[in-house]
Amino acid sequence: MKLFLSGNEAIAFGLLEAGVRFISGYPGTPSSEVLPAAVKLAKQFKIDGYFNWAVNEKVAFEETTAASIANIPVAFVAKQVGLNVAMDPYMNTALVGSDGGLVVVVADDPGPHSSQTEQDSRFMAYFAKIPVLEPSTPKEAYLFAKKALNLSRQYKIPVMIRTTTRVSHSKEDIEVGRLSNYTIKAQFNKNTDRYAATPHFRYLLHKQLNEKIEKIKNNEFEIKTYFSGKKLIITSGISFAYLYDIITEYKLTDKLTIAKIDMPYPLNEETLHRLTDKFEEVIIIEEGYPVIELQFRKECKGREDGTVPKEGELTIDVIKSILQKLSIMPEEKSSKLIKPPFKRPSLCPGCGHRTAFYAIKQVFKDDAIYTGDIGCYTLGLNLKAVDTVHCMGASVSFGFGFQKAFGLSNIKKPVVATIGDSTFFHSGITPLIDAVHNNSPFIVVILDNSTVAMTGNQPTPTNTYNEDGSKATPVLIENIVKAIGVDFLKICDAYDFDCMEKALLEAKDYIENYSSPAVLIFRHPCIYTTEGLKNNPRFKRVFVDEQLCKGCKICIENFECPSLIFNGSVVEIDTTTCINCGQCVVSCPFDAIKVEK
């Protein structure tokens, strides 16, 4: 059977085909599609298993590790910064090893396109001493997923698949195998020296890990060579596919030889040196950090000497320019790239977050410090109601840090943190505990749209179902907030400006007079989902009265709904994108935005 699959779908298929029956993770671009694809396949082929999101990556990694120790083939899925969150169990699982087979799927984001860093997870494999496979195409992603599970089972070691945005989000025709159900048999062989190792036994585990890596290096490392030129390029991942295309397209087959490495760690440098000694020049082109280059330990051109740029995505254009600089292919007459017309990313028309940010901004103007977080609502930037975005949950800890810093200086500075529902569950709860415990008066606004909107509307712990559709018990944010000991808690619909304004003013008053945080929950379902849009309150028509509009653009500047468009003299509403929610009405000081019921 041939299917047209994306890299992420291909990984899901490969994992299930190899026998994986437990997948956990946390959504994050570009990794988010792996788990939903597994759910879809499991349904379609009636495969038993557990395929659901965890509250964060650390929890997901621990869950998968345990299931692997119970002898079930498992996989963990996250984006590169998600693996950072799971670092603690991840490092330890490498040492303890896996039983049923454990595949660590990590999607990196060189560019970056939608991440805070360009970090290379292959280094995390190196760091933890686990093998990493790096697919160049969706087809390889499928094959390597199967290979990773088999390697993991054979050597009882977690195996990483490192993909990147381009591999995860490209599609290819792939000849796939058969998916069939089997009876899952969990089993646990107690062994405290391993599973509850005291420091005394840890170095023994480390020794075993080193032995496994040595074996894998000797038995599993291979280099594939292509073409027959005098200069050698060592490469891996998507860069191989790009190089292959350039060489065939520009007929450079007798100028270059390509050595492709599927497993960049552990690298067998002897095998590699035996090959490279035959060439007059060695160039290493790999996307991310110099992982192969540093293990190569011999003279070569690459990242270290500046031949390959040290930052940014290694696009096919960048690789071409590297080959041109090295005089391997002729310089092209400078041809400027045409860029598509720029459109600033913006919250969707009618998004409840926008009204929430607008209310916050109306109450606090430019007086407050606004700590933001990761999710759609990062775009509160456009409303100038977000000053910092660091990592998951940092809005709350940053709020705490800023409040204390200004408190120490005896400066009264209101701090307003904004965080989404899923991000609150992921990493916002622990800093809130700190804020209560250490008496820190600032405002935390939880923007609750009951979904992980940014990455494709995955369910959150407040939902009554999880990814696989099965019934789940909703966990209520307000109960958590109360249980932590927050005294000031108000909840409003994010479409109710008056409620939010009042709550914000009260919260402001509260943090001026008390020494603990005030929490507000502004709740409105994401309208990007069919369900959310269908149930959203709407007017028959929302329009701008041309006679009343002064063309001041105050609505556009302060409210910034993309459906509000300045036509040169007045503002108009773009009816093709407007959802008639009427939220923009409050933003016009001249009452020019009208609604028809």
Binding site: T315, D317, P341
Partner: protein, 152 residues
């Protein structure tokens, strides 16, 4: 063949690429695509680059494409930049779009119309290859009709 499809979110650029990919698979030709989306969810640029029966990556560079299908006029200059010397741009006029919307009730059927145009402009696929795939998708009757219209 190197092909680029350019549209905005929700217009069906991706479904169109899937239809063409399925046509290639049915003929046992290799097919790869590479998708690029902006961060803006609604109305943002969606670009699908495709290689059929060639290459290892799905990436198509500017000045390389044999055919560019443009679904959103805003990106006319950008779309043109992808064409090679003999490249062909396929797009719809406003009138055509409106008449499709009127006749079929949804602008999405423009994709099958434009697939008809595409079939006429290249030599890898013929009419039956497309019909074979359209037969099996949602609203196949309407899609087939729109497709026939596009073939002219």
């Amino acid at each position: 063949m190197k092909l680029v499809i350019i549209g905005v979110g929700g217009m069906g650029a991706i479904s169109l690429s899937k239809t063409i990919a399925q046509m290639a698979i049915n003929k046992n030709l290799s097919v790869k695509s590479s998708e690029i989306h902006g961060i803006a969810k609604k109305g943002g640029l969606v670009e699908v680059q495709m290689k059929i029966d060639e290459g290892l990556s799905g990436v198509v560079l500017q000045k390389e494409a044999d055919i560019v299908i443009l679904l959103e006029d805003l990106y006319f200059q950008y779309a043109k930049a992808f064409l090679n010397k003999n490249g062909i741009l396929i797009t719809l006029t406003k009138e055509e779009k409106e008449s499709i919307k009127k006749e079929f009730g949804d602008i999405k059927f423009a994709n099958s119309f434009i697939l008809g145009r595409f079939i006429k402009k290249q030599s890898i696929f013929d009419k039956l290859d497309a019909v074979e795939v359209l037969k099996n998708i949602k609203f196949s009757e309407k899609n087939l009709k729109a497709f026939e219209r596009g073939i002219g």
